[in-house]
Subunit: 233 residues, 2 copies
DNA sequence: TGTGTTTATTAACTTTGGTTTAATAACTTT
DNA sequence: AAAGTTATTAAACCAAAGTTAATAAACACA
């Protein structure tokens, strides 16, 4: 059996895992089920993946590759200035995270691991098998690639004058990214004491983007009020 | 045995769990160990807590109470305008998250659960035992309280003129909070291909706060460049 | 102070589910 | 076709979460 067939079996297992992770989440998905869904024995999944977490890393890698496509797609757009590209990126990023909840959860989980990974002491808490994993290694690259593209977009915005020149592209892009991560985490309809409070994505997003633009532009259009449909109190 | 003693045993178990979670993390901490550390039998931990996750919810509750204290402490400060309070909050929030890594991790995890909780379909993926848990219920309150305080601070800033008046307090505060969440997640020294890239908290934080201020103020001091000590590329 | 009742506590048991193993089948190479 | 390598399975293993059934301690209250 050649490498071709090997990767096909791997993919079969991966697809089964993805299907189940989307349906029931990582924890609730059992290796038995993955194997059953892929119509192989449980043991074989351990031939292709070191353990359950390694399988999850493979899923995460697919997820992050998808996110990188979003970055690339935006970056390729012609006839837009840096600020416009950044707004596009925000829109597409949020869309991605909403349309691929499980994938995005995996990406966030990986970023949590990165935090540990980048700390000499805390790195020890990560399963060494995972650190060796080809998927984890690739994820480091892809994460870095995304950062690189984002920074390029900010740089471009500074060059074309759509972003104020005294900003430092690295810090600025990472701040934008951090906003996005938090935005995604906090957004969604918020329920409290039965009643739904309308800090919903669809309300929040325009204001969020406006705030980001204000932050990056040299001037503020103070006369444009935010659109609000509901109030918290 | 009265309610007094019951809560004392509960607290004993909780403290043991916290100690171990800090040392080795949630996953790596075994219920056996928690019991042993509390010098009781394993079965008894299941008398006081429904299951391991319920115990974790109790820990999370303590964590979020601590975060709420940060919010309250800032809000009580006299002789500062809204913008200054907000900057204080950011500083204290980030300090809290750094000094209480495990607690903050628990808070973020809870926010992830909230995302599921607020979605009719995804709510089903949460263990029903947890949804009933008094700790989970209390967490909904505390989360809400924090939001309330933050929104009050922004409102105050608008009243005293330190934050531009056309901003909507709810959306604005949630945007700030989302920035904080992401900032915390992305910050820390970033290692890539062996070399350490200096997007480190200590570099990033001043620029981060400046960007936030720019976003909220009517005017931008374009002449203050960000302090940068390293470059990505 | 004795008795019934509720609450606390334990040790031993059960179950679940990730991981290993040892044996076998299939394919490759020479 | 024999030897070697890779793929595959069923069954065993085992760690750790969770349950149970029996007992002890506390309590109520007559």
């Amino acid at each position: 059996m050649g490498a071709q067939e090997r990767t096909q079996k791997e993919k079969l297992i991966l697809d089964s895992a993805i299907k189940l992770f989307i349906e029931k989440g990582y924890q609730a998905t059992k290796m038995d089920e993955v194997a059953k869904s892929a119509k192989i024995s449980k043991g074989l999944t351990y031939f292709y993946y070191k353990n359950k977490e390694d399988l999850y890393m493979a899923v995460t890698r697919k997820a992050f590759d998808g996110l990188k496509d979003v970055f690339r797609e935006v970056y390729r757009t012609k006839n837009k200035n840096g600020m416009e590209l950044l707004v596009d990126l925000v829109q597409k990023y949020v869309d991605f995270s909403h349309k691929n909840r499980m994938f995005y959860e995996a990406i966030l989980n990986f970023m949590g691991m990165l935090n540990l990974y980048n700390d000499k002491e805390l790195r020890k808490t990560i399963d060494p098998l995972i650190l060796e994993s080809v998927h984890f290694q690739k994820l480091l690259d892809v994460h870095h690639d995304c950062g690189k593209i984002g920074i390029q977009i900010v740089s471009q915005g500074i060059k074309d004058g759509s972003i104020r020149p005294e900003l430092q592209p690295e810090l600025t892009f990472y701040t934008i990214w951090s906003m996005l991560i938090g935005y995604e985490r906090l957004s969604g309809p918020i329920n409290y004491e039965g009643k739904e409070i309308k800090i919903h994505v669809d309300n929040w997003r325009p204001g969020f983007i406006r705030l980001m633009q204000d932050m990056l532009k040299g001037t503020i259009q103070a006369s444009r009020p935010q659109i609000v449909q509901g109030s918290l109190f």
